[in-house]
């Protein structure tokens, strides 16, 4: 901790940050899918299903006894509130405060769970985490589905432009200008209402907002002040202009009705504030309010290998997770593909129908929708899966729908005479399939299977959306700290390139070895 702090000195006092209802679209997607599958009724009563029970007093007792672990959802890509150091350890203001609050409340074990900001509220609803601590604004909208602690920090929106920009000085100057905002955050709605003439450039991540101004893709950024000031301090090249745009407050979020943990947190917060511990934490991360950095852009090379080498450990861990995900989902994909393929070829109409529905639904909807459905919507139906299980299941299921068609096509392509010859010797159809048809079909499957597994490997990056710290997510957290998108994406791209080529070569080698009779 200490050495990291020297490398990244305490931040200026920041006031605002704002993200609005990013969870909205994930929840909507999940509900839509549920409705499509005829499960609308249970989904609509999600808040009263057993999957999201009203926590009992026993929960707090278990936490205090160390029997269970307090799960805290956070998007560690928002310095100085929550981010990661070079070793991948989560650090920041929220992290320190939550640790202190938990200790004061007598909670023994705390685990921070990485997830995209927009997934935090759905994860609370789905009983996957106990606390959301990620610089979350207290809003009436959110308060409908989660409970909030007392205000622990004030915040609000600020406006940032390039240091070279002398034309934008106030909100009115944004008319006709391109303004970078993070998708799903409050900035979007706020600008639409207060400066409708601004042209919004919606980007996915925090760092992309600032980069787009530096790269000239946008004229200004409207975002929470802490994030903006942190970027200025770290990277320079930007300055804050105009007054604070809004005045809003941060709170910790809890599962609806989970009053034990919420009250324990509120009591601990009061304790922390009166003891002076809170002021210490605040000073550590936000520093002195009066100094506002507007420094020039820092000198940096285009390609910084240190962005990779400093985070080698977490990157290799992420790669390990990625390999694990690929291996397991590949096995699952083959299993689903074989079952699906034979189902589609079955003489029994209901089984054929199941195969057809599997392919048409799974191949006909976006992977990301399926992934979110499995992770965020199934808990509302009583099936709660860990991120890894959900990610691997989703990948296997998705890829399996393509393998189903590969299997079906390959088996159908084997000459009809082969089955006739086997059957006319008295072989059963199962024997004929096993010894004669499938070995021949398998060889024909290899090239398309190779293709499919290359796709699966690339798609595995998408499971980062359900909080799995695989290679891509590790890369994103490095970028949120170093703002070095170029080096990190080049490196990660290279790793995937090598992986996919290994798979391609393996498929070729197997094919060559098996094709002795062609």
């Amino acid at each position: 901790m200490r050495s990291r702090l020297t490398a990244s000195p305490p931040q200026k006092r920041a006031h605002m940050k704002n993200r609005f209802s990013r969870f909205g679209w994930a929840a909507t997607t999940a509900a839509l899918l549920a409705a499509l599958l005829g499960l609308a009724a249970p989904a609509a009563h999600a808040e009263t299903t057993p999957a999201t029970p009203t926590p009992s007093a026993g929960k707090m007792a278990d936490l205090r006894a160390g029997k269970t672990t307090l799960k805290v959802g956070t998007d560690a890509s928002f310095p100085p509130f929550e981010f990661t150091d070079a070793n991948g350890t989560k650090i920041g203001f929220d992290i320190d405060v939550v640790k202190d609050l938990a200790a004061k409340a007598g909670i023994k074990n705390v685990e921070f769970v990485q997830m995209p900001f927009g997934n935090i509220v759905p994860a609370l609803q789905a009983n996957q985490i106990d606390v959301g601590a990620s610089a979350i604004y207290i809003s009436a909208e959110r308060a409908k589905v989660v409970d909030f602690s007392e205000i622990y920090y004030p915040g609000g929106l600020g406006m940032f432009v390039s240091t070279a920009n002398d034309t934008v000085k106030s909100l009115a100057d944004l008319a006709g200008k391109k303004v970078a905002v993070q998708v799903g955050t409050k900035s979007v709605e706020w600008l639409r209402q207060n400066q409708p003439q601004a042209e919004l450039v919606q980007v996915q991540t925090n760092d992309q907002m600032f980069s787009s101004v530096k790269l000239g893709q946008a004229d200004a950024v409207v975002t929470g002040q802490p994030g903006g000031r942190y970027f200025i301090h770290e990277q320079g090249g930007l300055k804050q202009v105009g007054e604070r745009l809004t005045n809003e407050n941060y709170g910790f979020a809890f599962q609806k009705g989970d009053s034990d943990i919420r009250e324990a947190f509120n009591a601990a917060l009061k304790d922390m504030q009166s003891s002076g511990d809170f002021t210490k934490a605040s000073a550590k991360w936000f520093g002195d309010e009066s100094s506002t950095a507007t420094g020039p852009a820092k000198e940096r090379g285009i390609f910084n290998i240190s962005s990779i080498t400093n985070s080698w450990g977490p990157l290799m861990q992420g790669l390990g997770t990625t390999l694990q995900i690929i291996a397991l989902s590949l096995a699952l994909s083959l299993l689903f593909g074989m079952l699906g393929g034979f189902a589609r070829l079955s003489h029994l109409r209901p089984i054929r129908w199941i195969g057809n529905v599997y392919v048409s639904v799974v191949r006909g909807t976006p992977f990301i929708v399926q992934l979110f459905f499995i992770y965020f919507a199934l808990p509302q139906l009583g099936l709660q899966l860990s991120p890894m299980v959900a990610g691997i299941l989703a990948l296997g299921l998705y890829s399996g729908s393509y393998v189903t068609e590969i299997v079906r096509g390959a088996i159908q392509s084997v000459d009809k005479g082969q089955m006739e010859a086997a059957r006319s010797c008295g072989m059963s159809s199962a024997s004929a399939l096993r010894h004669v048809i499938i070995p021949q079909a398998f060889l024909r499957m290899l090239p398309p299977l190779g293709n499919e597994f290359v796709s699966l490997t690339k798609n595995s990056a998408l499971v980062s959306f359900v909080t799995i710290s695989e290679l891509f997510l590790v890369g994103q957290t490095i970028i949120s700290r170093t703002f070095d998108a170029l080096t990190v994406y080049v490196f990660i791209g290279l790793v995937y390139y090598i992986l996919t080529n290994i798979i391609g070569m393996a498929a070729n080698a197997i094919e060559k070895k098996m094709a002795v009779y062609i």
Binding site: A421, S424, C425, G426, M427, V436, Y517
Partner: protein, 243 residues
């Protein structure tokens, strides 16, 4: 008792009536050549004998058992009826030897050793010992067909069904295959042979069955069938074309 018998079998594909009621019997040890014009229903008839095609109506009785009875063990009955195809249908993913071994091991449950010994014995009989470990893609058509015959014979069938076994072969190797078939007949094998080889029908067959328009138009010993005295106009016109 007849070894194999059909009673009034018909086969239709929608409005297309391929077989229009065929009564046929074959006694043990008999060799029957089935000839007739293309599209007359010869192959369909043959494929109905081991139910590769299911007749639309009628009965097929083999060795006293009705193949179309509801609970019949078709695999067991088929294992006693060898079939040889025009396109050989060897399993391309196995060597010649393994092609002959697989059904013995899978259906007759022979040990690997016994199956191999029997396969080698048959390979010698069809003059293919030197090609035992070769995959079918390296064999000529005539060689493939001899392996296919060995594969069927290895099952010790009571009857062998041949579906135009020499039609896909180069003329110079047709005799290699016909010699093997003549050898089988001489050993007393019961055979139904759909063929265009009139020489074979004349020399080897005990009966010639002429199928035309989905019906048996003639069922005669070869000497009568091919004699000038046979004045059936359809047979005459067919023979004029093929001889």
């Amino acid at each position: 008792m007849a070894l194999l018998e059909t009673k009034e079998i018909t086969k239709s594909y929608g409005d297309h009536h391929v077989l229009k009621g065929i009564d046929f019997t074959i006694e043990p040890g008999e060799v029957v050549a089935v000839i007739g014009p293309s599209g007359g229903g010869k192959s369909t008839f043959l494929r109905c004998l081991n139910l590769l095609e299911t007749p639309s109506s009628g009965h097929v009785v083999f060795d006293g058992e009705d193949l179309l009875a509801p609970k019949v063990d078709l695999d067991r009955l088929r294992s006693r009826m060898g079939m040889v195809f025009q396109q050989f249908n060897l399993f391309p993913n196995m060597t010649a030897l393994k092609n002959i071994m697989l059904p013995q091991m899978d259906v007759l449950k022979l040990s690997k050793k016994d199956a191999e010994a029997r396969a080698m014995e048959l390979l010698e009989k069809v003059n293919m010992t030197h090609r035992a470990h070769v995959y079918p893609n390296r064999l000529s058509g005539g060689q493939k067909q001899r392996i296919a015959i060995a594969r069927a014979v290895a099952m010790n069938p009571k009857v062998m069904l041949f579906d135009e076994p020499t039609s896909a072969l180069d003329p110079e190797v047709v005799h290699d295959v016909l010699d093997v078939m003549a050898g089988l007949a001489a050993d007393g094998m019961t055979m139904v042979v759909v063929t265009h080889e009139m020489g074979f029908a004349r020399k080897v067959a005990d009966r010639v069955v002429f199928i035309d328009g989905g019906k048996i138009a003639a069922d005669l010993p070869p000497e009568e069938f091919f004699s000038e005295a046979n004045t059936n106009p359809r047979i005459r016109s067919f023979l004029e074309k093929v001889l």
